[in-house]
Amino acid sequence: MANIQKLEQTVSQVRRDIVRMVHANNSGHPGGSLGCTEFLVALYFEVMKHDPSFDMDGKEEDLFFLSNGHISPVFYSVLAHSGYFDVAELATFRKIDSRLQGHPTTHEGLPGVRMASGSLGQGMSVAVGAAETKKLNGDDRIVYSLHGDGELQEGQIWEAAMYASAKKVDNLICTVDLNGQQIDGSTDEVMNMGSLEAKFTAFGFDVLVEKEGNNMSKVVAALEEAKSRTGKGKPVCILLHTEMGNGVDYMMGSHKWHGVAPNDEELANALAQNEETLGDY
């Protein structure tokens, strides 16, 4: 049984890290990072079997691929608090000679990252490939991926989705961060995608919809439910409704905080809303 209170304490610290990292170099993507905090904390601290000593091949481990690489702040914070590297390294985010590049990369050898991402639309294909290798290796662990909703406008996502269902890649759980926002406005304004539930269902996925993607117990329950649906001949998709900027009231629900850093005053305000639980880096 998940200790929801403990997970929520971690969420609070990760949110502090996100706004501090983005503020420190006046660049980065706080909105989507804050919205996906519950999801990534649930995945790394509750759901996945993984080893922070880090081996690229990840045999007999669950694997996670971040396809929407711009939400790197939440990914880095969660990896650091999971023990992949020292939390102090979060201070180097986006700075020269750092392993914490603006978008995640294997190039600098940061433990926990298995694939570069940032150019959108590639991560589902990567996850499908890793899932096929697990099957060949007789490894029954699960491959997870996370995608932005705006990212679904990339055609490659649907190439990967078509493959995953046609070839019964059923050790795969693809989650879509449904925050309804992208750079130029709401996803409905920029490119209305209609019913994503109908689309993924039509593409042959077993689809779960979780309307409260910023409610830790709901997120854990959705992930556990998704896990129970693997191995049944279909790839699994979680449509996770989240709120961009969740946890920082003035950022919530607006695409304006997609890729903008808070100033000093805004940072203090954001930190006041999120308790320091594990110690700031």
């Binding site: 694939m115 294909s125 990567v126 490939g129 290798t133 697990k134 490659q156 190439e159």
Partner: protein, 317 residues
């Protein structure tokens, strides 16, 4: 001057097919992915012997490239198969981010490169692939000359750890290199030693360069002919050593002049040993439909064009 002979002609893509099968027999981690061109890439024998290691991805090359990158995680060695155009220009960003930048052990195997694809025309005749691939940091770029060498190269890249672009083609070409040769990535092969001019050729143009050497010998010109099967890393030592002796160079390739082998050689020579150079290559033009031999003639990629370039470059010494 060494006389090269051959008893049969075979397509380089069949060399790839044979090499892939043997590589797969040797190493259980070798897997193959193909985007609906299994017959064209000669991957059928591999598919038949190892159906569980063959991944048909349909007509979705972008998915294939990123999937191949993902498959390396857990130790597989993916060989992707499609036409050279769809293995490079169509999927450049996938290759760049998921394979090259992520430094994944993917072998991008590309058939039907260049004008010799023939009748399908310019939409399919990629002449920019070597340039695109060599620009990617860490990418090895190989363009073998005949069936035996393509087979050997396929086996060699299975042993090499890192991203590789292997280019081959559709037409039947003379098979003149040894069977079961050892292929050393990045090592130029001396075909004929000479003193008057260095001819550096790659891929299908290697045979034309050998033939040009004989024509030149009859004209009293002693040409050194070298097979540059690896465009990157370029064998700088072999090229500089030859050029110091001959004092001029002709490059020959089935590719755009911009970005090809000639471009790499010119860059090397300009920096290390400025030398007169002429390039036999396609000059900033798309191809067109036609019989391969006629296309090679029209676009200036024959032994006669090599001879003309040699005459021109020798005058500049």
């Amino acid at each position: 001057m060494k006389k090269y002979t051959y008893t049969e002609t075979k397509d380089t893509r069949s060399g790839f097919g044979a090499g892939l099968l043997e590589a797969a027999q040797k190493n259980e981690n070798v897997v193959g992915l193909c985007a609906d061109l299994t017959g064209s890439l000669k991957m059928n024998a591999f598919e038949n012997e190892f159906p569980e290691r063959f991944f048909q991805v349909g007509i979705s090359e972008a998915n294939m490239m990123s999937m191949a990158a993902g498959m390396t995680i857990g130790g597989k060695i993916p060989f992707t198969g499609t036409f050279a155009n769809f293995a490079t220009s169509r999927v450049y960003d996938q290759v760049r981010q998921s394979i090259a930048y992520s430094n994944k052990n993917v072998k991008i195997c590309a058939s039907h490169a260049g004008l010799t694809l023939g009748e399908d025309g310019a939409t399919h005749q990629v002449l920019e692939d070597l340039g695109m691939m060599k620009m990617l940091p860490g990418m090895v770029v190989i363009n073998p000359c005949d069936y035996n060498q393509t087979k050997a190269a396929t086996l060699a890249i299975a042993e090499y750890e890192g991203p590789v672009y292997l280019r081959f083609g559709r037409p039947k070409m003379p098979v003149f290199t040894p069977e079961n040769q050892e292929f050393k990535i990045g090592e130029a092969l001396m075909l004929n030693e000479g003193t008057d001019v260095t001819i550096l050729a790659t891929g299908h143009l290697v045979w034309e360069a050998i033939e040009a050497g004989h024509i030149l010998a009859d004209m009293g010109i002693d040409a050194e002919v070298i097979n540059i099967h690896t465009i990157k890393p370029l064998d700088a030592d072999a090229i500089l050593k030859s050029v110091q002796k001959t004092g001029c160079v002709v490059t020959a390739e089935e590719h755009q002049m911009n970005g090809g082998l000639g471009d790499s050689v010119a860059q090397l020579l300009a920096r290390k040993n400025p030398t007169p150079i002429e390039m036999v290559a396609v000059n900033d033009s798309f191809g067109e439909s036609g019989v391969p031999a006629l296309l090679m003639e029209k676009y200036g990629l024959t032994r006669k064009d090599i001879v003309k370039s040699v005459e021109a470059v020798i005058k500049r010494k």
